[in-house]
């Protein structure tokens, strides 16, 4: 079902106040996006409140550079504003949002470094052995906060493709199929990436369980 993204404001108001196909499918974010496309700025605020943190951390964990994360995060949301007129409900809003985020990340990798692009696009799915020397011993980690920080370090040490799959699952709440749709990879590939990522993280966190 297609929606006219350029509908008038009264249509947007109607879309915001009445259940649509997107809402019926359990995607209230899609309805909010349609409402925003119809001129409801408040709908955008609600969308931003829901997804700004996850998308920001997606860039932050992927880039490991705060300034770059700010830049790409801003680009993502500005692209969303520009794309409002052509938005149609084809999938969950989060899938659409993180597909744009993935594309922006790939674009950044292409411009900045071929090495990182290769690291992201090739299936570096083989589980690497966790370097025991780099893992802090249990005596140095006393609290769960320290465990969480250790987990973040291990997440950032993941291969790019596995890390992205993990972040899309945790930050975006995407399913396997949605991750595959957002990244353009096959479902089995995504499944494999997630399995390897979880294996590595479990192995790294076994001392904290």
């Amino acid at each position: 079902m297609n929606y006219d993204a350029g509908a008038d404001s009264h249509l947007a108001h109607e879309a915001a106040n009445h259940p649509t196909a997107a809402e019926a499918a359990g995607d209230a974010d899609g309805a909010l996006m349609l409402a925003y496309a119809g001129g409801d700025a408040g709908a955008f605020d609600r969308l931003y409140a829901r997804h700004s943190g996850g998308s920001y951390r997606y860039f932050l964990r992927s880039l490991r550079n705060e300034a770059l994360a700010h830049e790409l995060f801003q680009d993502l949301w500005m692209n969303l504003i520009r794309a409002r007129a052509t938005y149609v409900v084809e999938a969950r809003f989060a899938t659409w949002l993180y597909r744009m985020a993935h594309n922006r990340l790939i674009d950044h990798y292409r411009r900045s470094s071929v090495v990182q692009l290769v690291a992201l696009e090739t299936d570096d799915d083989a589980p690497d052995e966790i370097n025991a020397d780099s893992a802090p011993g249990p005596e140095t980690i006393a609290a769960s906060r320290q465990a969480a920080q250790h987990l973040l370090q291990q997440v950032q040490a993941l291969p790019a493709a596995q890390r992205e799959a993990f972040l899309l699952q945790e930050e975006g709440g995407l399913s396997l199929a949605e991750i595959a749709a957002a990244t353009g990879a096959g479902i089995e590939t995504v499944k494999s990436r997630l399995r390897y990522a979880m294996t590595r993280l479990r192995q790294a966190m076994k001392d904290f369980r």
């Binding site: 350029g6 997630l194 993280l201």
Partner: protein, 324 residues
């Protein structure tokens, strides 16, 4: 999925994931979002864009349908047969006017459908003039006035159907008839028969050199249309071939071709089969020789055959029909 999702890991991860974008950045993004919808660009476009696009699509579609309908082959005018009876004006009127009636002044048997097949449609009114000229000698037996060879061609086409075997009649039958300005009707008829047997395409129907200047532009389309009747669609094909030929030839090569052409004019009339076996240069030389001998009918016929056999060969100016 359970294998790919570990709740314990998720809990640890969420406990550590508290980073948020800077508030200033969030405010700037929200302000940009609000500004984008406060002043929506192209409100007029959104209102009228769809109706205009639909109207343009309808107009385009109708145009394509009309064009397709006009180009349907079953709407093309049928070829006019040589024996077709149409409301032609009396031959006496045509003869009384002193010249062959212009095709545009003649009533056409049926309205020609205007389409891309313009030559075929244009041949229809021209063809209507042919029987009128043909009837002239039948009404007034001794033709007191000069009759151009092209008129005689038309007249003969009315009397005899086109032969099917082009090579059965040698071209030499047409000799000796190209130089008569005041040729009697019988002589013109002989030449017409010879030319008819060769099925000369339209390029070969250039007016004969001795024809009066006033008669040339009128007799030319007449002859073209008459031969178009006989040759059918091959006339259009020949016209396309001639159009595809380059307009000019290098002067030097033409000069060389015409150097000894006059000397060998008489020996240049060969049978069609023998002529087709000639090399292109030799064939052109013979055509030029025929032109220099003012035997344009034979030259035209030979040139038409040459163009059919060598469609991509550049024809020198001396071998082409003289401009009226």
């Amino acid at each position: 999925m359970s294998e790919e999702r570990d709740r314990e890991l998720s809990r640890h991860y969420r406990a550590a994931s508290a980073e948020m974008p800077p508030p200033a950045l969030g405010r700037a993004i929200r302000a940009a979002a609000a500004q984008a919808v406060d002043a929506p660009p192209g409100r007029w476009q959104r209102k009228w864009g769809l109706p205009l696009a639909m109207a343009a699509s309808v107009v385009l579609g109708l145009g394509m349908v009309l064009r397709a309908a006009l180009e349907r082959p079953d709407l093309q005018p049928p070829p006019v047969s040589a024996t077709a009876t149409a409301p032609y004006p009396p031959a006496a009127e045509v003869r009384g006017s002193g010249s062959v009636a212009m095709p545009s002044a003649m009533p056409t048997p049926e309205p020609a459908v205007r389409s891309r097949a313009a030559p075929a449609a244009a041949a229809a009114p021209a063809a209507a003039a042919a029987p009128a000229a043909a009837a002239a000698p039948a009404v007034a037996a001794p033709a007191p006035e000069r009759q151009s060879p092209q008129q005689a061609v038309s007249a003969e086409m009315q009397r005899s159907p086109a032969p099917t075997d082009q090579a059965s009649i040698p071209e030499s039958k047409a000799q000796g008839s190209a130089d008569s300005v005041a040729a009697p009707a019988a002589s013109a008829r002989d030449r017409a028969r010879a030319e008819l047997s060769l099925r000369v395409p339209p390029l070969a129907t250039a007016p004969a050199a001795p024809a009066p200047e006033s008669a040339r532009p009128q007799s030319r389309p007449l002859a073209e249309s008459a031969q178009g009747q006989v040759a059918g669609t091959t006339a259009n094909a020949a016209m396309q071939e001639q159009r595809a030929a380059p307009p000019m030839a290098p002067a030097a090569r033409a000069k060389a071709l015409g150097a000894d052409a006059a000397q060998s004019a008489d020996s240049n009339v060969l049978g069609i089969a023998a002529e087709a076996e000639l090399p292109a240069e030799e064939w052109l030389r013979r055509i030029v020789a025929l032109r220099l001998a003012a035997r344009h009918v034979e030259a035209d016929a030979s040139l038409a055959r040459f163009v059919r056999r060598h469609p991509d060969y550049r024809v020198p100016q001396q071998a082409r029909p003289p401009n009226p």
